[in-house]
Amino acid sequence: MAVKAKPKEGTPAWERSLRENPTFAKEAIRSLTMRAANGEPGASEQLVVWLKDFPEHKSEVKALDDLMAKTEALWANAASFGDKLAEQAARDEAAALRTQLLPPNATILDQILASAVVVAYLAHARAALRAAGTTDIPALQTARERWLSEAQKRLLSALKNWQLIMGKKTRGMRTPLKLFDAAQAAAS
């Protein structure tokens, strides 16, 4: 099998290859968001241009899909403590929750926010089961209660993020962005 040669540094091909790298894309979006939030002139427009180039970020979206699926599977397994039947029940519960959270024509943002809620829910279920269990070591019980409290905070935070976006979306978007357009997301 022929191995694709790495493009020479500084060339337009190299710049294009950078855009396909999820880590680079993540840091570019983060940097532009921060600059735009600080009111830097032109940063908001650059961010919009970045997000409009959604079809070029196929690899990134694929990586996000994989990340969501893998994380949910791991937490379903963790919440069932190795019991296959309980794991299947956890997976079904997660799928039902995800369906409830996703609006019709869900975008990648909707999907990732819903996935974050599902993961936090499964982590909370595991922490709650652990805290309800008995142990003869008081310090371990204290640690389990602390983990449960942390899991509750994470679940609340994930739900707040999801609720914030769903609330704002009802007011409409300023610019139609391909990254957040359901038709584009479905086509990719």
């Binding site: 993540k26 979006i29 983060r30 532009l32 968001t33 735009a36 939030a37 908001s44 961010l47 919009v48 997000l51 996000l64 990340l67 969501m68 893998k70 994380t71 791991l74 937490w75 397994n77 963790a78 990648i108 943002l109 990732i112 926010l113 996935s115 974050a116 993961v119 936090a120 982590a123 595991r126 652990r130 142990t135 070591i137 008081p138 310090a139 371990l140 640690a143 389990r144 983990w147 994470r154 994930a158 993020n161 914030l164 976006i165 704002k168 007011r171 978007m173 300023r174 610019t175 962005l177 957040f180």
Partner: protein, 106 residues
């Protein structure tokens, strides 16, 4: 904790426990007794330490079971936060005093 022998004192020594006291920047040696009382105090301190070690290793083992899942969940949350912020900023919102508000004139 330690058994300290002193000149003219009993051969078994005096039992001291090392502990932290509020307001002191360093651990303090607290006298717990000598002879049988010292032995009893030493066994209590020893059993307490063994319990603490058992709790620590059990907690570490429980936490280790979800290390990979925790790492992935953190990455997922990071992406969710990033895309959410990007969406809000690109749509003309700004973070002001703990909440996202629509920027006027956008």
């Amino acid at each position: 904790m330690s058994w300290d022998r002193k000149k003219g004192g009993p051969a078994s020594g005096y039992f001291y426990e090392s502990m932290r006291i509020e307001g002191k920047p360093h651990p303090v040696k607290v006298y717990r007794g000598r002879g049988n009382v010292g032995q009893l105090a030493a066994s209590l301190v020893d059993s307490r330490r063994r319990n603490q070690q058992a709790a620590r290793s059990a907690a570490r083992a429980e936490a280790a079971a979800t290390t990979e899942a925790e790492k992935l969940a953190e990455e997922l949350n990071d992406w969710a936060r990033l895309l959410m912020d990007a969406w809000l900023v690109a749509n003309g919102y700004r973070f002001h005093r703990g909440s996202w508000r629509f920027r006027r004139g956008c």
